[in-house]
Symmetry: C2
Subunit: 425 residues, 2 copies
């Protein structure tokens, strides 16, 4: 297909005419397609049903004899710790098994630092200003936490191997008010990028000016492969230990997209010293998390192999959807020099970059044709994509037939907006 | 039985000799009895087993069609809201159904006020000082939250009808830094007192100097009766509405001691305006709480009648234990003028007051004989009981036979310490 940039005005006008016809035909269908959030589809949830049918009497006693029906156990029952330690490649004493939401664990971690500081540091709320680095495009809910607490966000570019580490290294070493950085290091949200070993090493060897600087390592998609050759992510906690900086990273994950979104089990992993600090206030916050649900998950999955087997079922459902997206994007947009996107090996998103200053207009047009996308700009701090070009496609929820239509509409909108833009240049 | 105060020195010495023999006989048994926490016993947990055997397929769809296996729903599924609204006598739009811990809801509420303020007020962490009133004896975990956040606690006396309202009214109307008060209004922890209607009315008509003053109404034992004639607690939210102050109260409760401690469902009730404020940050904190567990509870209990029927089974197990405690206390201590206690109509505790300056010594002696009590002083802010006289007895966990021994040991210790004290006066 010919690059749009090589088209004459006449050719662009013809293109627009054809695209408008196609667009209007879809609009006439009164579509109502939702691709806003990375939610598993109903079929994916079906495969976890058996987790909830484990008989009550098997959910009572944990491996160490703990009565899971009663109060107690702040950091998780042994078998849940063992399961997550294996999944995250950490020791069982580097784990806190949480409640139903890793987002809540991250929120709590920031809230705690704001009110109480970290390992004796000044509470962030008592400082003149606190800043976070936000590799972008990134996860809007990370950014929302910073915004709520008045933490200033600094956008850092995402590259094909991870965040722009030159910038990260420079900023954290110079500015003591930079207290953290948000990372989705594997199958990143939304780009689907896995940080290379070199990037992980550079993270572990950061020399932050702030002693209470922490890497928020949201390993949400650690086992969420879409390929027979899954990406491998270097172990950040080990790398930090090797660099003598084991307190510098908080790792988060959950079974939300393994078992049940909103009713799974979340987990946090970090150095034993960090954990000790966290437990001091966690023991005030709660008597403990839901041990019955922990045991349910541990009994069902047993170990990482069990999780991986389960994830293959998810992949079986998701691969055709991702392939649909990629195929249509290629057919509609390939070679036209108006958009770029990744083929992710896992995760929940396809990230689409349009020409500069087109994303909002594309999302608006698509919305008017009944295709809801994550708000353009949402993948950047303050909802502000400086180049207005990134769109996050969440293909998991809709059935393939709907998805086909939605992506076709999206692709038509990208072409329409791009052609109009080039015509009026 | 003769009052200790009427005994001669000789008679006291005789008493002590007899008591020491009994004490040593128990000590020789190498007891290991734990009455530290208000935990249900194993038999109580058995009666909730069926909740966990509801088939998975019945746990999927909420009444409004929500897929409980997927993300979403910040404030609770409709049937859970309805259940708790009935239990707490509030409207369904005055409810947030939470996670597994009402303590966590309370912690979050304070943490939020510290970082973000309440309905636009200055965040408490930005103020020079924040104070809470703490009717005492009270619940140590409430006090621990204040202590963690550096909130100054002011002890207010508990009377037989509730907190000393003259003091409460005076203090809150004079001091703008007083931002809250902790209450366990029904079957209070530890006294087992239910606030009278007059006390509730006086709460609802408080005229706090601080606009962001809130009553933390921990209605933990609202359905936890131990009598055919249960106490009745006046509805505080309604009373506050009648007084034109509906934003002044936060109500908390949970099914922790109805179904599973640590794996039940917690709930918060307050004015719709307060809820709106809370949801603004709650939606940043989490995508939602565990809806599957909400549905499980709603399906099992159905309504307040279902809860009440279930609570009768708990009462059947607990009444003999409370009766054991009260009978032994009466037999050992009755008429001796060295201790006083309440006969609670519900809740989880018997509160024992010794002579002044005896509680720590009693707890120490009992501990040395293998009977662990909640730390003396724990029922007061900063662990400091100014009269050193209150001991919290938690009779629910041990089997009746163990309980008998434990209370006998306790009663012997009270007599020993009292007699020695009177002898040395």
């Amino acid at each position: 297909m010919k690059s749009y940039k090589d088209l004459s005005k006449e050719e662009l006008k013809n293109e627009i005419e054809i695209l408008e016809k196609r667009y209007n035909a879809f609009k006439a269908q009164n579509l109502k397609l939702d691709m806003t959030r990375g939610k598993p589809c109903a079929e994916q949830l079906d495969i976890s049903m058996d987790i909830l049918d484990i008989p009550a009497k098997e959910l009572r006693k944990a491996a160490d004899g703990t009565d899971c029906f009663n109060y107690g156990v702040l950091d998780g029952i042994p078998e849940a710790k063992a399961l997550f330690a294996e999944m995250l490649e950490v020791n069982t004493d580097e784990i806190i098994v949480g409640g139903n939401s890793s987002l809540n664990l991250m929120y709590d971690t920031i809230a705690r630092a704001m009110s109480l500081g970290i390992l004796g540091s000044t509470p962030w709320s008592k400082l003149d200003g606190v800043k976070f680095l936000c590799p972008s495009p990134g996860y809007d809910r990370h950014f929302a936490i910073c915004e709520l607490f008045g933490i200033e966000m600094i956008t850092v570019d995402m590259k094909q191997d991870g965040p722009d580490m030159d910038t990260v290294e420079k900023l954290v070493s110079e500015d003591e008010s930079i207290k953290g950085i948000w990372c989705v290091p594997k199958y990143s949200n939304p780009d689907g990028i896995t940080y290379t070993d070199e990037v992980v090493n550079r993270f572990a060897n950061l020399k932050p000016k702030a002693k209470d600087f922490r890497i928020f390592w949201d390993n949400a998609y650690c086992v969420h492969h879409l390929s027979e050759n899954p990406d491998k992510l270097k172990n950040i906690l080990k790398a930090c230990k090797d660099a003598g900086k084991e307190n510098m990273v908080y790792i988060f994950s959950s079974t939300s997209k393994i078992s049940f979104p909103g009713a799974g089990v979340a987990v946090m992993a970090t150095s034993t010293e960090n954990l000790k600090g966290i437990k001091k206030s966690l023991t005030i916050q709660t008597i403990g998390h839901d041990k019955i649900n922990q045991l349910r998950h541990a009994k069902y999955f047993k170990n990482l192999e069990g999780i991986n087997t389960h994830m293959k079922k998810h992949a079986g459902i998701l691969e055709p959807k991702f392939n649909t997206v990629l195929q249509i994007l290629q057919e509609e947009l390939g070679g036209k020099d108006i958009a770029s996107w990744n083929k992710p090996n896992g995760g929940y998103f396809v990230s689409l970059n349009t020409l500069d200053n087109c994303a909002k207009e594309v999302a608006k047009l698509a919305g008017e044709a009944g295709v809801a996308l994550t708000k353009a700009g949402a993948t950047f701090p303050y909802g502000n994509d400086p180049r207005d070009r990134n769109l996050r496609i969440a293909p998991t929820m809709p059935p393939v037939e709907e998805l086909k239509k939605a992506i076709e509409v999206l692709a038509i909108c990208v072409q329409l907006v791009s052609a109009s833009k080039l015509l009026n240049q």
